[in-house]
């Protein structure tokens, strides 16, 4: 269960969200500028909300009342971004393994081989990221996030930078991850079509409100 109850103000924008998601896979849907990415940054620990509380599976990540604010590197929130953000100086293999050694063993639910098989990226291991296609980059980014043993996986418009043909190729992988790996997931997108293919649990956000 994901519980988010936060308030965040910036000059011309107010985010006021009260959200309880009971399902494992959820989609956050809303037009651009609605506050989707801000909400993601707040849950991930990149932005600190003015006040509120965030908890995942009963574990508190942020509570302004109790003064709890777990830093981003201990939140275990896996992120996949629009642009992949693979580390350019590391091979695909070392990108994938970056988070593995940092996670404690009891949190590791997916093995490297499982991820390689699921995302079909085993043949790319020795390549540098700039030799990959856009779709391959996103698969590696997804694998890297999965292998960091997150308690929550958040995908921020992971298909937005790909053309329609590639989108069609990646979607099945996303569905597979959503179905086969038991990590809670929030899928963020402004495309209803995309969202509907992943899950039926759709949370709408507009003007900073759910």
């Amino acid at each position: 269960m994901i519980e988010v109850n936060v308030n965040f103000k910036r000059k011309d924008f107010i985010l006021d969200v009260n959200l309880i998601a009971n399902e494992r896979v959820n989609a956050l849907f809303g037009p651009s500028g609605s506050g989707k990415s801000t909400l993601l940054s707040i849950i991930a620990g990149i932005i600190k909300p003015s006040h509120g509380r965030i908890s995942i599976e009963g574990e508190c990540l942020f509570d302004s009342g109790l003064g709890i604010n777990i830093p981003i590197y201990r939140r275990r929130v896996g992120l996949v971004f629009q642009e992949g953000r693979l580390f350019p100086h590391l091979t695909v293999e070392n990108n994938l393994l970056y988070g593995v050694n940092l996670a404690s063993i009891q949190n590791q639910h997916v093995s490297v081989n499982q991820v390689l098989e699921l995302l079909e990226i085993g043949h790319l291991l020795k390549k540098p990221p700039h030799h990959l296609s856009g779709g391959e980059k996103q698969r590696v980014a997804l694998g890297r996030a999965l292998l960091s043993s997150p308690r929550l996986l958040m995908l921020d418009e992971p298909l937005a930078s790909l053309d329609d043909r590639l989108k069609g190729q990646i979607l099945p992988f996303l569905k597979r991850v959503a179905e086969e790996i038991s990590i809670p997931m929030i899928y963020i997108s402004h495309s209803m079509d995309e969202v509907q293919q992943i899950t039926e649990n759709i949370i709408m956000i507009e003007n900073g409100k759910i």
């Binding site: 590197y73 971004f81 580390f87 100086h89 970056y98 988070g99 890297r144």
Partner: protein, 201 residues
């Protein structure tokens, strides 16, 4: 130091920034003289060190190294700082979201990605040290076999009748040294860029 100046903002930052860069702007004799005042045997730090460790810094090779370091430091900090601030912060956030603490992020992401800039800083600092004259001669003097650096030696030979040949030998040596260092850094930079995926020729 470069990381602090690139990433952090705090009270008094511009003062620290200014202090770090002072040797770059001042005539080299001034930092040399200041070093002598502070670290010379009569200076308050120099006196302390002499009393407790029976060691002098002024007029020794350690002082020569220190003078060069003080003069070269701003150049190193400047280029490293620029390189560090140009590293995509999004990559650092991505690393943090994978569980890397700030120290780990610095050593595995920020530093490798700013390596070409840090290298440029090293070359600049090296060339500054190689040519260091004013601060050295003021702080540690020009003592044969102790604090006579390459430029000091060349200068000394040109002041002595018949020293031209010796001076010439040292000039050739410094040419080779400088050229070698530049070629090495160019080579390293190329390798670093290639690794990052943007080859500049």
């Amino acid at each position: 130091m470069a990381w602090i100046l690139a990433k952090k903002s705090f009270f008094g930052k511009s003062l620290i920034d200014g202090l770090v860069h002072l040797p770059l702007v001042l005539p080299p004799v001034v930092p040399g003289f200041l070093l002598l005042l502070v670290l010379g045997r009569q200076g308050f730090i120099g006196n302390f060190i002499y009393k407790h460790f029976h060691m002098s810094i002024a007029f020794t090779w350690i002082g020569a190294v220190l003078a060069s370091a003080v003069m070269a430091f701003p150049l190193m900090v400047r280029s490293a700082r620029l390189a560090i601030s140009q590293v995509d912060h999004k990559l650092e956030l991505a690393a943090a979201s994978l569980g890397a603490n700030p120290i780990k992020v610095f050593f595995t992401i920020t530093l490798p990605l700013s390596f070409p800039g840090v290298l440029t800083g090293l070359v600049l600092a090296f060339s500054r040290s190689l040519g260091e004259f004013g601060a050295t001669i003021t702080f540690v003097g020009n003592i044969e076999n102790v604090t006579r650096t390459l430029p000091l030696a060349i200068y000394t030979y040109t002041q002595v009748p018949g020293g031209d040949a010796s001076a010439m030998r040292l000039v050739v040596l410094s040419l080779l040294l400088a050229l070698g260092a530049l070629m090495l850094s160019d080579r390293l930079e190329r390798v670093a860029y290639k690794k990052l995926g943007n080859v500049n020729d």
